[in-house]
């Protein structure tokens, strides 16, 4: 429940420019030089800050003129402080997928196949976020490959919300094949989310892939006390993501494993501070 509230608040905070929804215009203030940690299109009428993935692609595309220090630095700080807690708590598109998955239908459970598919997002990161923008950077042609061909958040938050507004008839008139391709991608991903838990996060999202690279170092998140763990596997069975162990690169730190652990070996921590779950053995011994 707390996590759902944090997800809702963060989605609202990312899109606090409510006037933009009414007017069909995007926010153009100075806050947009900052990036939010989660996936949230900067062309959403409500967006008050930049999308880290869009900013990264544009920084790579401009890297022939200027090294991408700023965005890389921000992403490094996000990864070190929050890691994939961002996916579990601070991503509006993750929230949307979780809500869609609540629609009562038959669900596709995780399997060795979904575990293999979870590696796909690293290929998306390499090809669409890094290689395509870098390739075109040398031709002085900015091309954010992921935003252009895949990003369902951009289509939903940017395209749908902007183009549906009556004030944006001129933009609507420009919609062509690419627009319909992106709509098809978005519908595919949203429909799949009803049947597969967080299918975009698990198989496609390059931002999650990026944050997952620093999973072992992230300050905040679900941590396993190796000394207490009896290796029963209850946490792995409970987890809806394709994790191999608690807190690994696939874990979005939702904390659903904390309650089911029979030996209270899992806790949600910020460094040494326990935010949820059992206290550390040292503290228990002292008390």
């Amino acid at each position: 429940m707390t996590r759902r509230l944090i997800q809702l608040y963060s989605a609202l905070l990312y899109n606090a420019h409510l006037k933009g929804f009414a007017e069909g215009q995007i926010y153009t203030g100075p806050l947009k030089s900052l990036c939010v940690p989660g996936l949230n299109c900067y062309s959403c009428p409500g967006a008050v800050a930049a999308c880290p993935l869009g900013a990264l692609q544009n920084a790579v595309a401009a890297s022939a003129d200027r090294p991408a220090f700023y965005v890389v630095g921000l992403l490094l700080l996000f990864s070190l402080l929050l890691g994939r807690v961002i996916c579990g708590f601070l991503c509006p598109f993750g929230l949307l997928q979780e809500l869609l998955h609540k629609i009562p239908t038959k669900k596709l459970q995780k399997s060795p196949l979904t575990r293999k598919l979870s590696r796909l997002k690293y290929a998306v990161l390499l090809i669409f976020v890094l290689a395509i923008p870098a390739w075109y950077a040398f031709r002085r042609l900015p091309l954010p490959g992921f935003c252009k061909f895949i990003c369902p958040a951009g289509t939903l938050e940017g395209a749908v919300l902007l183009l549906l507004h009556p004030a944006n008839g001129a933009l609507r008139a420009m919609a062509g094949g690419l627009f319909w391709w992106k709509c098809a991608m978005m519908l595919l991903i949203l429909t799949a989310s009803v049947f597969v838990f967080r299918c975009f996060c698990r198989f496609v999202c390059p931002l999650g892939a990026l944050y997952g690279l620093m999973a072992k170092l992230a300050l905040l998140g679900v941590k396993l006390d190796e000394g207490r763990c009896i290796g029963c596997g209850t946490c792995l069975r409970r987890c809806p993501m394709d994790i191999r162990r608690v807190g690994d690169s696939e874990c979005v730190h939702c904390g659903s494993c904390i309650e089911v652990c029979p030996v209270q070996a899992i806790s949600f921590r910020a460094g040494r501070i326990v935010l949820r779950g059992p206290e550390t053995p040292e503290k228990e011994a002292q008390s």
Binding site: I26, Y27, T28, G29, P30, K32, S33, L34, C35, C41, Y42, S43, A47, A49, A50, C51, G54, A55, N58, A59, A62, R66, P67, A68, F69, Y70, V71, V72, G73, L74, L76, L77, L80, L143, P144, C147, K148, C151, G154, T155, G158, A159, L162, L163, L171, M174, A175, G176, L178, F179, W180, W181, K182, C183, K216, L217, L219
Partner: protein, 46 residues
């Protein structure tokens, strides 16, 4: 554990330094310039 903490601290300082360098080299301005315009790629127009 100490090795991990040292690595974390080193990377954190690197992150801060990169952000500072990025602000100085105009990277933050680039982000702003892109984000205050409607992104035609994001909305599927070009």
């Amino acid at each position: 554990m100490k090795k991990k903490q040292a690595l974390w601290a080193a990377l954190f300082i690197l992150g801060l330094a990169l952000v500072a360098l990025g602000i100085l080299n105009g990277g933050a301005r680039d982000v702003l310039a892109k984000a205050i315009r409607i992104c035609s790629e994001c909305i599927g127009l070009g």
